[in-house]
């Protein structure tokens, strides 16, 4: 390819990181739920989509992006709590496929609900005024919003890490993932922990939805392709490994971006090739423990 410069490569890398941020965030929520509850949440993409719709809706209502950034995860998180309590909970102990099918069905209910509420064409999404335009990052101009996206994702990931590593609740969650019997014996209501983790995962999905919304069109089907991509990320990172989710998310974004530069028509394929290669070398994923699927 002619005209390949250092600046172009750096720009492509940055684009990949911005792209990967959303993957990382989505995969993080997915893997929290899987790691703790052993539930493969097929409605995760739908929560992402609902988050995007809620984000645009609240933004239209309040005119304040920051406010809707807080409100949206509360709504999707609340929806997640209800889902766990009334839909997923009765299926515990019946194997991995029951909740999988349930959440798969739920995703279609959510898609249909958004169609009824907002129409089939979706909503035009808006970038907040303060984040419009682009910024000179030394190698050229990059959209301000995507820089914000990278920073916001980093902060959210750090916050989740802090919550799990440094708080009492995090300790319980980790203990619960390792051995729920012992946690129960210690007198902790494990059901509450599961409820919380599911809600947290869905809140993160909704948050990624609103964060992604200014960069793409908001429509009822937007969660479906990205769900497939986040599963690739979780598998590459290792099922149930939060660190793996984050690293693999960024990796997938960068691989996609770099392939787009050299072989644009293969960009979509590239992440699946990456998955195949990782699985051949490390069947449990980059950071996964062997036999995580139980």
């Amino acid at each position: 390819m002619t005209g390949l410069t250092f600046e172009l490569l750096c720009m492509q890398l940055l684009t990949g990181i911005a792209l990967g941020s959303i993957y990382a965030l989505l995969a993080l929520g997915l893997c929290l739920i899987f790691g703790m509850l052993n539930v493969v949440n097929f409605a995760h993409g739908a929560f992402f989509m609902v988050g995007a719709f809620m984000g645009v809706y609240f933004l239209g209502l309040t005119g304040n992006f920051w406010f809707s950034l807080i409100l949206t995860p509360i709504v999707t998180g609340g929806l997640g709590l209800l889902t766990e309590r009334f839909l997923v909970r009765p299926l515990y102990g019946r194997g991995i496929d029951y909740p999988l099918l349930l959440t798969f069905g739920l995703s279609y209910v959510l898609i249909e609900a958004m169609r009824v509420a907002f129409g089939i064409e979706g909503l035009p999404s808006v970038t907040p005024d303060s984040l419009k335009g682009s910024l000179d990052v030394g190698i050229g101009f990059f959209p301000k919003y995507r820089l914000f996206l990278i920073a916001a994702t980093a902060m959210i990931i750090l916050a989740v890490w802090f919550f799990i590593q440094k708080t009492k609740y995090g300790l319980i969650i980790k203990a619960g993932a390792a051995d729920q019997e012992i946690v129960k014996v210690l007198g902790i209501d494990i059901a509450k922990v599961w409820l919380l983790v599911f809600g947290l995962g869905c809140a993160i999905a909704g948050l990624s939805g609103i964060l992604a919304s200014p960069t793409r069109s908001v429509n009822p089907e937007m969660g479906i392709p990205i769900l497939a991509e986040s599963f690739v990320v979780t598998v590459v990172g290792g099922m149930g490994s939060p660190v793996g989710a984050v690293v693999a998310g960024l990796l997938v974004g960068v691989v996609y971006s770099m392939t787009s530069l050299f072989f644009p028509d293969l960009s979509e394929l590239s992440i699946f090739v990456l998955m195949a290669v990782v699985l051949l070398i490390r069947p449990q994923g980059l950071f996964g423990k062997a036999g995580a699927m139980g």
Partner: protein, 411 residues
């Protein structure tokens, strides 16, 4: 795409039910009038083009109503039999066959995708039923797909992409980059744009092909920026176009190049919003704003507004209207509903339904018509329908189409 297929099954009940209720299907069964003129109308009521498809049905119903209100043909009324083809070529062929065999339709009008219209055409060709296609395709007029029963009311990529090239290259420059959805229709748009561009000395710096249905285009944009073309041509459609336009805007591409697209749809613009599409130029078959200069457009819009609570027809909606109207007018001209007589009448039809004078070229039955070049507005919009400025109208001429010989037709 895989996810669309699974969506459609469930949606069928919802929208299919509503569509069935809105067509006079039940009445027809009850009275079993054998002498109504039946027009089969397969179109993707579910799936990513459903907004356009539903508008097609609304406008086609208007054409039926006008025909019936005017007394029909010797007292025979017309009716529309709408079927959901789910944007799936196989489904479209099945539905069309049912319309012909079971419902005994006299004519078929409809479709909204290059692939489904070709499969509908194949069925109609075999059964010798007149089909007036209202979706864009280059292939349908080529000798191998075409039959004497095939009419093409819609524009084709040669006409739209060509017109956009002829408008934009002299104004903005000759260095071109394409961002193309990697499927037949995308490739056809590129081919047509390059064909028109060649005459004006334009050069293609790159044709970057992206997978159909990509949601993020940012990874393609740094390279486009580095190539620094005069014109970036977005050869994609629907939601792909909405996402691409949005991200090109975000990456500041508009400051150094002009962004154009062969087909700038009214519905895409509504979905994408003013900001994403600001300043983007494209071709279209119709925009309601033509009513300021074309009386038939005014009459069509007014009739549509009256029937549908003040809303205005979209470009593909207008095609639904014209597609049905041409067939019905030809029945009157032929004084018969016999297929071959109507075919001959349609070949001789000179009409002006909504956008100025049109006719079907004899060799390939392509509707010779104007291409409207519009620019998306972001300021001084009167209401939510006010989205485009009409820049120019490329007049009706066969010169800008591929010649009959080129398409493989004799004579």
């Amino acid at each position: 795409m895989k996810q669309k297929v699974t969506n459609q099954t469930r949606r069928k009940m919802l929208i299919g039910g509503a569509a069935a209720a809105s067509t006079p299907l039940w009445m027809n069964i009850a009275s079993a009038q054998s002498d109504t003129i039946k027009i089969g109308f397969p179109t993707p009521l579910t799936g990513p083009f459903s907004a356009e498809a539903q508008d097609q049905v609304k406008a086609a119903e208007l054409a039926i109503k006008e025909f019936n209100d005017a007394g029909g043909f010797n007292g025979r009324k017309a009716e529309l039999l709408v079927r959901d083809d789910k944007l799936n070529p196989g489904e479209a062929a099945t539905r069309t066959l049912e319309l012909i065999e079971k419902d005994k339709v006299n004519f078929v009008v409809g479709s909204l995708s290059a692939a489904t219209q070709l499969s509908i055409n194949a069925v109609c060709k075999e059964r010798k039923v007149l089909f007036n296609s209202i979706s864009q395709s280059d292939a349908i007029n080529e000798a191998k797909d075409w039959s004497v029963y095939t009419f093409h009311e819609a524009l084709n990529p040669t006409m739209t992409a060509g017109a956009v090239a002829r408008y934009s290259i002299p104004r903005f420059g000759k260095k071109i980059v394409f961002l193309t959805a990697d499927y037949a229709y995308g490739h056809e748009m590129v081919r047509a744009f390059e064909r028109a561009g060649k005459e004006m000395g334009a050069t293609t710096l790159a044709d970057i092909r992206h997978p159909l249905g990509a949601s993020d285009y940012s990874a393609f944009l740094p390279r486009i920026k580095a190539l620094n073309p005069d014109i970036l041509v977005l050869c994609n459609f629907g939601r792909d176009l909405v996402n691409a336009a949005k991200q090109c805007t975000d990456f500041g591409l508009k400051s150094s190049m002009k962004i154009v697209t062969p087909v700038l749809l009214y519905t895409s613009r509504l979905a994408g919003g003013p900001e994403a599409f600001e300043g983007i130029i494209g071709g279209t078959s119709y925009y309601w704003g033509l009513e300021d200069r074309i009386p038939t457009a005014k009459a069509f819009n007014d009739a549509f507004r009256k029937m549908y609570n003040g809303s205005v027809p979209s470009d593909y909606g207008a095609l639904g209207y014209a597609g049905v109207k041409s067939v019905l007018a030809s029945i009157k001209a032929a004084k018969s509903t016999e297929t071959m007589k109507v075919v001959t009448a349609m070949e001789n039809l000179k009409y002006d339904w909504y956008k100025g004078p049109e006719y079907y070229r004899k060799c390939d039955h392509q509707a010779v018509q104007t291409v409207i070049i519009v620019e998306s507005k972001s300021k001084n919009m009167k209401d939510k329908y006010d989205v485009f400025n009409i820049l120019t109208i490329e007049p009706t001429t066969e010169k800008n189409m591929r010649s009959c010989a080129e398409l493989g037709h004799k004579a």
